[in-house]
């Protein structure tokens, strides 16, 4: 039996959802030795307008046996051994025999992520309690941050009017808890989940669209969900190498001196209005706060923070008057403008994979930030070359997400942005 027959990746660039689902599933299942234990799907957002995601999933289940669990969701782009894509859908079928599997879903994560996490943890623990295998892995995929498209402002990166900015900020609470539009609250969700199952290893991705951040979807079997977390729990005899990389270094240091109650808006830096002070620190002119800010400028100047001795980066999402919106919580204290470029992004993946001891790899699952896809552009193929260098012919699936995270008891929980996280499974 070859590795390819245990794990296989299928892909389709077809535009019609049903046809794409059928093609990717038929390709993924073509050389499988047995019925898959689970199926993971990443899809770009385009199928929302080309038949819908239900059609995509129904197309997959025309080939995939109905009792095989499927989880996944929307991503900005994807990478598989065959290439990198800004349009299409890919699925990974895993039929490794020494493995028990549980899948579950938690709802309303933007309103109450802790309750959703506890619900999922309970199901995973219950389903896998009688497994004879020791190595526990959890893959979570949840609704990522969505930004309100507020008329007349629309989806914008910069609102300098203080009055309008205050109106938008004051609507966040209603938006978050009533409409469930807003932060993905992955940090809260995952903290609650690993508190319930501390002895697992975990990889997380957050659903996103084409980086407009207006909508995203999660897949659970043949059901399309929003504002949900879908989880795959696995107990097996496989070893799992988990790690992350970003390639950023601390550059300009400063103090975050005032944040919003939920920690997702920075109001003051160095006791001065945050946006003004950011401009001064980076030595930018006011004119740099334009519509290219999020897509072309901020990716290379993220916020950097040390958490539990590790350096993490957080993209600035939006300028709101004199405040700065983030996707995740921060606390008052020392922070940095981090320095990152395309070369360091790619070489960091090389370094991380080289440091991971992966004996006889069978498959790899990756989640990476959509911002990296956006920032690297066609150079994303260099990142693929690095992964191929380390994994050779091992099947892998990488989705460019709205957020990513890793957890092991040794690493702790690392909620990531603008990074790449991975779980590589090996039999040695």
């Amino acid at each position: 039996m070859t590795n390819d027959s245990l794990v296989n990746v299928g892909f389709s660039e077809k535009w019609v959802a049903r046809e794409a689902g059928r093609e990717l599933a038929s390709r993924a299942l073509a050389e499988m030795a047995g019925k898959p234990k689970f199926f993971i799907v990443y899809s770009t957002i385009h199928y929302a307008e080309n038949g819908g995601f239900k059609e995509l999933l129904d197309g997959i289940y025309e080939f995939l046996p109905k009792d095989v669990p499927l989880i996944g969701g929307t991503v900005t782009g994807l990478m598989i051994p065959q290439g990198c894509y800004s349009h299409g859908a890919a699925g990974m079928a895993v039929s490794y025999p020494n493995m028990d599997v549980s899948v579950c879903v938690g709802n309303n994560i933007k309103r109450d992520p802790t309750a959703a996490a506890k619900e999922c943890a309970k199901k995973i623990k219950s389903d896998l309690s009688s497994s004879k295998f020791q190595n526990q892995f959890i893959f979570t995929f949840s609704a990522g941050t969505e930004i309100l498209d507020v008329p007349p402002v629309g989806r914008t990166s910069v609102v300098r009017s203080e009055l309008l900015a205050k109106t938008i900020m004051s609507s966040f609470s209603t938006s978050q808890y009533v409409l469930q539009k807003g932060s993905g609250r992955e940090d809260d969700l995952l903290a609650a989940l690993v508190a319930e199952i501390p002895n697992c290893k975990l990889l997380h991705g957050s659903a996103i669209d084409d980086v407009k951040m207006l909508r995203n979807y999660q897949f659970y079997n043949n059901t399309v969900l929003t504002n949900a977390v879908v989880c795959l729990g696995v107990k097996s005899d496989l070893n799992t190498a988990i790690n992350f990389a970003h390639g950023a270094e601390p550059s300009i240091s400063f103090e975050i001196t005032k944040v919003s109650d939920d920690g997702r808006i920075i109001h003051e830096i160095n006791n001065k209005p945050a946006a003004e002070e950011l401009l001064r620190l980076i030595n930018w002119q006011e004119g740099f706060f334009d519509e290219k800010l999020f897509t072309k400028r901020f990716p290379f100047f993220p916020l950097g923070l040390h958490v539990n001795g590790k350096f993490f980066i957080r993209p600035f999402v939006m300028i709101l008057g004199d405040s700065i919106l983030l996707m995740t919580k921060v606390e008052k204290g020392k922070a940095f403008i981090a320095r990152i470029n395309g070369g360091s992004m790619v070489s960091s993946v090389d370094d991380a994979l080289a440091a991971s001891k992966i004996g006889a790899p069978i498959f790899g699952l990756f989640t990476s930030c959509a911002i990296r896809f956006m920032a690297l552009g066609r150079e994303i193929y260099l990142e693929r070359d690095v992964i191929l260098k380390h994994l050779h012919s091992t099947p892998f699936l990488l989705g460019y997400c709205g957020g990513e995270a890793v957890y092991t008891p040794e690493l702790g929980l690392g909620y990531l942005n603008e990074s790449i996280g991975y779980a590589v499974f090996g039999s040695d």
Partner: protein, 123 residues
């Protein structure tokens, strides 16, 4: 060159909302241009000018081929013109996107089209 296959690649490119127009140009030849009704009307003037001046652009490209020129892009009004040269040839994929488009996504889209065209030209 299999014109039908090239046409299919270009038609596929035009399904991306941020690809307003595209064509494959060959020095001294007409090239392959999709049905212009599929182009965003905002860029029809630009694409016509590009078609008329493409031989001049190839003169520039030739000067840099030995230095590994693969890609050129420039901004015209609110649009970005991308020109991807197929290696070892006088053939280029040309596409126009809005200047505010997510450039990274557009680049990956065009790179994949370029790779498909290289395979078609090789055949």
């Amino acid at each position: 060159m299999d014109i039908e296959k090239i046409q299919a690649v270009l038609d596929d490119l035009l399904k991306f909302e941020d690809v307003y127009a595209c064509m494959v140009a060959k020095q001294g030849m007409e090239g392959v241009v999709p049905d212009k009704k599929k182009f965003n009307p905002k860029v029809l003037g630009i694409i016509e000018t590009l078609q008329n001046t493409i031989d001049n652009e190839f003169q520039i490209i030739k000067q840099y081929t030995d230095y590994g020129l693969e890609e050129m892009s420039f901004r015209l009004q609110d649009f970005e013109v991308h020109l991807y040269v197929l290696p070892g040839s006088e053939i280029a994929l040309i596409a126009i996107s809005p200047s505010q488009a997510n450039r990274g996504l557009v680049e990956v889209t065009l790179e994949n089209a370029r790779r498909k065209l290289i395979e078609i030209v090789k055949e």
